[in-house]
């Protein structure tokens, strides 16, 4: 139904022998909300810059509406960008910032006024036209940046971590706002973020990237429920990743026990990675469970308890609304649809073990986590 608008074909990018993008193949449909998701340095921003025309790929093709646009400069593309730090023009007021593209295109004065005012309304900044950019808060500057891009009626809007500088509550509001704007305008959004929750909330399609390669493309549900490898499983949400052996279709062995599952198409006795999401595990009395373990740590998280359970020296994270005290023995059962099987990959064994779990686990392991930023965020909350 929706037609293909942009395609990246075998795109590679190298800076001084360092391969930043490794054979990226990707197509983007008209009116789609597509998110490039990955840790810093995964190549997501480079991909965005290639689509925007700010970077020319070392090899491969970029097509727009079927035409090759590798060498088309940014100002000749029907694509507009919202930059990470907004890049508003400080010497112009809000109205003139938004009108910039229209003035370059020599649109008539009356139409400029109409379209800018219309955009001010779309981004809920009516009456702010005469304000100086430096009189606006970060969230308002963000909206001006979006209006400035959208007023040109681009076919595609590129957004490079646009919510990164905002505090948590504002970020949630802007997520809804962006989704609303995208649906209202009916144009394609290509969104770059390292925040998996943001990606799952807003996107039609999520592209998970790491080390310059696409790890998986799919809907948020696909990505979460059917991760292709240990990297994706770990990056999107929490997961316990275990070594398993696929006996036959629908039967997997974990901890020397066989479990029913819904996966097939593996070689007999093929070693695999098994993903079990912490919220899918059902806790029972020890004698009723298929596996027995000892609780080693409990952290209250509001909605649930993060419970770490030791199964034969291997620690799992289980999210449960019931409190099980440290030291108690529990049993668990696993239903076939709680188990997801993945082929072994270069990421096998790197993720999904909660042996060294602590409350700060995520922060320490998040490459984008910045202690200063967190402090600032904390200040903003006050």
């Amino acid at each position: 139904m929706s037609k293909e608008l942009i395609r990246l074909h075998d795109v590679c990018m190298a800076y001084d022998d360092e391969l930043v993008l490794d054979n990226i193949n990707l197509y983007i449909n008209d009116s789609e909300f597509l998110t490039l998701l990955g840790p810093s340095g995964c190549g997501k921003t480079t991909t965005l810059r290639i689509i925007g025309g700010f970077t020319t790929p070392s090899s491969g093709d970029v097509t727009f509406d079927g035409e090759r646009i590798n060498d088309v400069p940014p100002h000749k593309r029907q694509i507009n960008t919202v930059f990470q730090k907004y890049a508003l023009f400080p010497h112009l007021d809000v109205f003139e910032n938004i009108a910039f593209g229209l003035r370059i295109a020599k649109v008539g004065e009356k139409e400029i006024e109409e379209r800018v005012n219309e955009m001010l309304e779309v981004v809920s900044l009516k009456g702010f036209g005469k304000r100086k950019v430096d009189q606006l808060s970060g969230g308002q500057q963000q909206r001006v940046a979006i209006a400035r891009a959208l007023v040109n009626r681009p076919k595609v809007l590129l957004l490079d971590e646009p919510l990164g500088a905002l505090d948590l509550r504002l970020r949630k509001d802007m997520q809804n706002e962006l989704k609303r704007i995208q649906q209202q305008m009916g144009i394609t959004f290509i969104y770059v973020t390292h925040d998996q929750e943001e990606a799952l909330t807003m996107s039609d399609t999520v592209v998970v990237m790491d080390k310059g390669r696409i790890q998986q493309i799919g809907s948020p549900e696909d990505i979460y429920n059917e991760p292709k490898n240990a990297f994706v499983a770990d990056f999107i949400g929490e997961s316990n990743i275990l070594d398993g052996i696929m006996h036959t279709d629908f039967v997997v062995e974990i901890f020397n026990r066989k479990f029913r599952c819904l996966d097939k198409g593996f070689a007999p006795m093929e070693p695999v990675d098994v993903v079990i999401r912490p919220e899918d595990i059902e806790i029972m009395a020890p004698e009723k469970g298929r596996l027995q373990g000892t609780v080693t740590s409990v952290t209250f998280k509001g909605v649930h308890y993060d419970t770490i359970v030791d199964f034969k020296g291997y620690k799992w994270l289980i999210q449960t609304t019931d409190y099980h005290e440290v030291g108690s023995v529990i049993g668990i059962i696993l239903n076939p649809d709680d188990i997801h099987i993945m082929k072994k990959s270069e990421y096998s064994g790197m993720f999904g073990d909660y042996s060294s779990y602590s409350a700060e686990y995520d922060e320490i392991n998040d490459p984008d986590f910045d202690a200063d930023e967190a402090e600032e965020d904390a200040d903003d909350e006050d």
Binding site: S137, N152, L166
Partner: protein, 278 residues
């Protein structure tokens, strides 16, 4: 104890300034003296300033100074701005190298710059058939002005949001339009400052001019020097006073502008950080 130290520091401070500025103050006072004496005050008069205005040589030197300073400042501003943008877009290593090379002439003794430029001009003049004069004076001034412009424009470039030019092109501007419509307004204060500093340096310069101007043309500073060697007339006081006041005013303007821009930058940074109440 603390109090004592403070008093001592203050007195010391005052002494330093007295030592630095007393000669100039005396010079300025005696430029208004009615008599020729440089030691006895005999009443207020603008006599020496009137003399100045009737002295052909001084008027010629004045016009040379202004012409050289204006042209040198404008040309150096264009060259220096282009150089700064070029440096800014280099990778870190070559950029640091070029900036160091840029800074050497500013710390170098004027006399070395002056003599080396003179040697170059004389040698080149022998081959190409020109001699020291207004042309070589102008080239010398442009040469020593460029580093100051680069130094004034660089901080502005560094403060620039790196995506600003890209944002303009993204909105349909050609690279040229992006430069004039977006980068230029941001750089303008730095460029103007650079031009003012260059102009001041030109007005102020004596040593380099002395070596590169030849015998036909002279600047005001050179004229003052020549006057002190011939007959010591109080006209020198008047001329020096004018030069001092002009240079001082220009420097004050440059400094005030810089402070204002720093305040503006801080305000902008604060606005961006204040994200919570959007």
């Amino acid at each position: 104890m603390m109090q004592k130290n403070n008093t001592f520091a203050r007195i010391f401070n005052i002494l330093v300034y007295v030592f630095l500025y007393l000669p100039i103050v005396v010079l300025i006072i005696f430029s208004f003296n009615d008599s020729k004496s440089r030691t006895v005050w005999s009443g207020f008069s603008l006599h020496w300033y009137q003399e100045l205005l009737q002295d052909e040589e001084i008027l010629a030197a004045f016009s040379t100074t202004i012409t050289v300073s204006v042209i040198a400042a404008v040309v150096a501003t264009v060259l220096g701005t282009a150089a700064a943008i070029g440096f800014h877009n280099m990778k870190r290593r070559p950029r640091n190298l070029f900036l160091t090379i840029n800074n050497i002439p500013m710390t170098n003794a004027d006399i070395i710059t002056g003599v080396s430029l003179m040697l170059l001009f004389v040698a080149a003049g022998n081959i190409l058939g020109f001699s020291l004069g207004f042309g070589t004076l102008l080239v010398a001034h442009i040469t020593f002005n460029v580093p100051y412009v680069v130094l004034a424009v660089m901080p502005k470039l560094r403060q620039l949001n790196p995506n600003l030019g890209e944002a303009a092109m993204d909105l349909g501007a050609t690279p040229w339009q992006a430069f004039w419509k977006v980068l230029m307004p941001e750089l303008r204060p730095g460029i103007l400052n650079g031009m003012l500093i260059a102009f001041t340096m030109s007005i102020d310069d004596f040593v380099i001019s002395y070596f590169t101007a030849g015998s036909e043309v002279s600047t005001l500073a050179m004229q003052i020097y020549a006057m002190t060697r011939k007959r010591i007339s109080p006209e020198v006081n008047a001329l020096s006073t004018i030069l001092f006041v002009v240079v001082l005013t220009l420097l004050v303007i440059v400094n005030v502008r810089q402070v204002r821009q720093e305040q503006l930058n801080e305000k902008r940074a604060r606005a961006l950080r204040k994200g919570g109440n959007g």
